[in-house]
Symmetry: D2
């Protein structure tokens, strides 16, 4: 399980004093950026693309207190895998998200098998 702390920013606070829901995918991406880096030597040669994102917004998130993002691998397929993420603030589960990423070969423009080395690392984070 990956663990990431995010400090909500003034500019992410909307007119109601909450963090706008459109900010959450930005934070979730930071929650799994370690995995992105495992796959891509550098960001300019990406090999992972996001194909689905399903987010439940369960509770308001406020400016002024850090949030914690817990990321685990849910399922590893041949060329794709699913991440599960929980976002907590002050002990309250505020967001629950599921993201499907595909290992993509830009030269053939098709999904590609996840190499065994990466598959093994992903499996370490299954929970």
């Amino acid at each position: 399980m990956l663990k990431k702390i995010i400090t909500p920013r003034i500019s992410e606070t909307n007119i109601t004093g909450h963090i706008g829901h459109t900010v959450i995918p930005v934070w979730l991406e930071e929650g799994y950026e370690e995995i992105i880096r495992l796959f891509s030597q550098n960001l300019a040669e990406p090999s992972l693309i996001t194909v689905n994102m399903n987010i439940d917004f369960l509770h308001e998130i406020f400016f002024g207190k850090d949030v914690e993002i817990l990321t685990s691998v849910k399922k590893v397929g041949t060329s794709s895998f699913i991440l599960h993420q929980d976002v907590y603030q002050d002990g309250i589960l505020c967001v629950r998200a599921s993201t499907t990423l595909v290992h993509f070969d830009y030269s053939t423009h098709k999904p590609a098998s996840i190499p065994k080395a990466f598959r093994d690392i992903l499996k370490e984070h299954v929970s």
Copy 2:
């Protein structure tokens, strides 16, 4: 059906030359901002909250060409409704999204029935 044109911005273009997936929820929100305004006299007294967002990313979106967002109402419940959105660029369906919004009463901190006047307007956009 609501129709909205968005011009991708330089700052929304990521290292691969595509629009990053985290930008899409911002655009989708603009796709249905007319509906948000129907419910709230002003943004500071919101009565709609987003409780779920499910997005399929089907095709890359590039800088340099406008996108079109088509928004329709999928289902109207007692206190919530579901929007369906399709995002096209150059005639290609790039994103398909489903968003669930709840009519929320901040004074009781509970979902509230959608007033008949709004329900009628929402039904006009059902497709």
Copy 3:
């Protein structure tokens, strides 16, 4: 003079109901994106970098009404030029900005002379 219309977004509205000042540079960049495109065949081979930005915030900008950005070229030097931008909402001058861009050669990592063809185009926008 270049003219660009921007529609403020819900997600750009901050807790006070205004557009946060951090949003303005994003809009200003859209105000001169035509010039960026003149210099770069594509965004991945940039030849213009921003070296200075000086912004006066003169009046609040609100969600709900379009803004108009007027961009003119102020001064054209050997390898750099200065843009002047005025942002209006509802006939009120809200932002006045000055941006200095340098024609940059990434291979030598040094400023490079602005080619005559571009210099001529820039001069058309001097005011």
Copy 4:
């Protein structure tokens, strides 16, 4: 002097692999958010507005390494003050910024004197 660490985000990385210049004001605001909080009990009753921002972009900033923002108070006037900020990555000075904030009374819609208690705190950060 205030010190803040920011981790560049994937979504802040532009097509050239650098952090886009439009991201910097967002980071700078986080660099002085402690000062904003001193003035406003909560963000919804702001008493500080940004009236000028002058930023020199001296060096590219990259994804993958934290940046450090050093903020000091430059000058304290009757109703306004100026902040100076330096942004470092890997020991290199990448951004130098000056921001002028005004203590503003929204009821009279005019600048207001900075209360002595805040003036004293600001003076502690003068350098």
